[in-house]
Symmetry: C2
Subunit: 116 residues, 2 copies
């Protein structure tokens, strides 16, 4: 089982911010399936190489992607662990919501036996 990484607020900020852009999400999608160099990726989008380079940097700082040198290229790979970390965070929110549901259930149970 993957250990539930303890991410700081700033890291969580970076993680969700990195996911809040369609181009970056597409880069994550691609590199989860197939590794690609930065210029491979740049050819996929209607923007300059430098712009794509910046998106990859944002993803790398968020931990969603790793960049490994290979000759003159930098090979980009998606990091499934960070995806799972994000899922774990969202799971926590859902668990919190259950508290509300359980409290409402308790209230309804009390209504079955109202005090006079």
């Amino acid at each position: 089982m993957v250990v539930d990484q303890q991410l700081s607020d700033a890291e969580v900020d970076r993680l969700f911010h990195a996911l809040a852009d369609a181009t970056r999400r597409d880069i994550v999608r691609r590199t989860l399936v197939t590794e690609a160099s930065v210029s491979d990726l740049a050819r996929c989008y209607a923007m300059t190489f430098a712009a794509v380079q910046k998106h990859v940097a944002v993803l790398e700082e968020a931990g969603l992607v790793t960049k490994q040198p290979r000759g003159r290229e930098r090979i980009v790979r998606g990091n499934p662990d960070r995806i799972r970390a994000a899922q774990a965070l969202l799971d926590d929110y859902e668990q919190l919501w259950r508290v509300r549901v359980e409290r409402l259930d308790a209230l309804l149970a009390d209504d079955d036996h109202p005090s006079p």
Copy 2:
């Protein structure tokens, strides 16, 4: 079972962007457990009422929170469905990653029977 909402790129942008701020995440946490007025929330943070109001607006546009008038107050409640929508999106990414794993497995299987 909750239907898998079909979110546009712009909606997903808004969803993750709304989550990319510690104050907003805290508002979501609180309002998932207990409903609260905007000024209830404002008292929790070291910033002006107007700033908190803006954060709530961002969360509302992202669908992570609903705002319901009650007298002069606006009651804020967390929306677990949007949390689940975000989880569903991340699940998709994890599924993509499995494609890579399966392809690697296939490659290894080929290596068991190398051609001469």
